[in-house]
Symmetry: C2
Amino acid sequence: MKLRIGINGYGTIGKRVADAVLKQKDMELIGVTKTKPNFECRIAMENGIDIYASSSDRIKLFEEAGIKVKGSLEDLLKQVDVIIDCTPGGVGASYKPIYEKYGIKAIFQGGEKHDVAGFSFNSYSNYREALGRNFIRVVSCNTTGLCRLLYVMDNAFGIKKARVVLIRRGADPHEDSKGPINSIVTDPVTIPSHHGPDVNKVLKHINITTIAFAVPETLMHVHVLNLELNNTASESEIIKALSNYSRIKILSAKDGIASTSAIIEYARDLGRKRYDIHELIVWKESIKSFGNEVYLSQAVHQEAIVVPENIDAIRAITKTIEDPEISIKTTDESLGIGRW
Amino acid sequence: MKLRIGINGYGTIGKRVADAVLKQKDMELIGVTKTKPNFECRIAMENGIDIYASSSDRIKLFEEAGIKVKGSLEDLLKQVDVIIDCTPGGVGASYKPIYEKYGIKAIFQGGEKHDVAGFSFNSYSNYREALGRNFIRVVSCNTTGLCRLLYVMDNAFGIKKARVVLIRRGADPHEDSKGPINSIVTDPVTIPSHHGPDVNKVLKHINITTIAFAVPETLMHVHVLNLELNNTASESEIIKALSNYSRIKILSAKDGIASTSAIIEYARDLGRKRYDIHELIVWKESIKSFGNEVYLSQAVHQEAIVVPENIDAIRAITKTIEDPEISIKTTDESLGIGRW
């Protein structure tokens, strides 16, 4: 029997998770919710996805716009095993009582506080600890990227200290009212940014400091990592360690990929839908070893990197697959992850 | 008798150095050169500055445009004690034989290689070593910012290791054909960027690694510094140490200055010509101490920070003032540096 999945919110993350759920043989997408009858409803309809209004008093908004809805969020919740909360950051917490009322397992996104779910998730880092829980929070895009990399490097070489500078995209491509348009903005000015403590929700023992800035760019975040390791690691050993993980992709500046826009151009040429990149991208030439001190730079597609983690989270929370490697492999094959 | 100064190139740096020379009581600006009769010639004329064509065969270009020139570069060189080379990066080297032919002391900019002058200059760091030389290279904006900060911190606490990430402005405000417009560009992808080795041309003993990215912004560069110190330094001790130096200005995010655009807005409101900021700006709240490991973030106005260093370089190269403190104080008072 397939897992019956609902998605609360069909925006930046929700529509991508919906596409990914549709590709899973062990899952059935029952429906998605929308607050407003905008163009994304037309996309859902084209994809054959049932739409539910976020609340019953909003159903008429959709009817007036000629969008057929199957009911409200509560109608959706009655039919599903797992709800994936893809509402805007901070909004998910307000839905938790409704999910609890219907006894539904829920997966929240990184925009919620850790305490909303009580458990923060990353597939590589702590899949087994998530098994059978009622609530899981998939950490945000930046934290997902950091957790993937730090987990692998810690496993391979032991991390003594991690120092990270994040150069964040100012806004997503569709956010036409956000900035900055000509500024480098401290985000925040104090140290650490929230990303380091958030990594520690997943990888509790990593000594990490993060500092973040927002810049006028929409495509990807960039992270600059300085790692002090317990053991020495040569550049080729690092490349070998990272290459074992399909969700970390090493690209070379020598191939003309020395910027976020070049990475995205590559994804577009590959024909990836919405140019989504689920993999963490590490620039090969940025990997620099000074024995047990290492530098590297990586890029994170903020809209897409958490999608495979959401799919794995469904299997972990329902305990339908207990081995993380099997879930990760299943997800990766369904989404074409690692095929470059 | 006043020092007779010529400036080869009246562009981004040249026009600012010209303004600064005009404010020095011990200097006389004999003239500036231009390659093309563009709007900057009108600015020079309005400021009462004599214009020379960069070569004699270009004089007619200016005459055709109705710009009166007093002769060519060689005519200018015959009249000056010091020429400040403000030609584009890499071009200055080609003029060196002409300066040598006329036996003129020359000050190059950071766009030239160290070997062109054989000595790289920063007022705080190595003024005395510059005394009486024939050629000096004033290091670039980023290196000037780093040298100021590292010199002060090294003097106060001893630097064991410096790790720096540079978030560079993509282009200057007037560079309307340059990018990036929506990308974060590795600059370069390999480690270190040229800035660390360039700092070592001035501060030879500092163990420093630099990594740089270019972003779609025109106002200022941002540097994120991680410093391992020989001695512990509290945040207040760091603030106190930096406050002793007029060319380092600490601004507070609490005053609404948490981005490069906010810093520039402040300079505009102060009525600074061209909104130029000669000071290195350090964000107060970014200063974070973990005993003998320290983080801080700083901003560099790429068009203006090297101007006071060029003025000091004139006095050092001519040995007219041997005490760096006297030259620095004279320059600072003439330019209003530190008056915030």
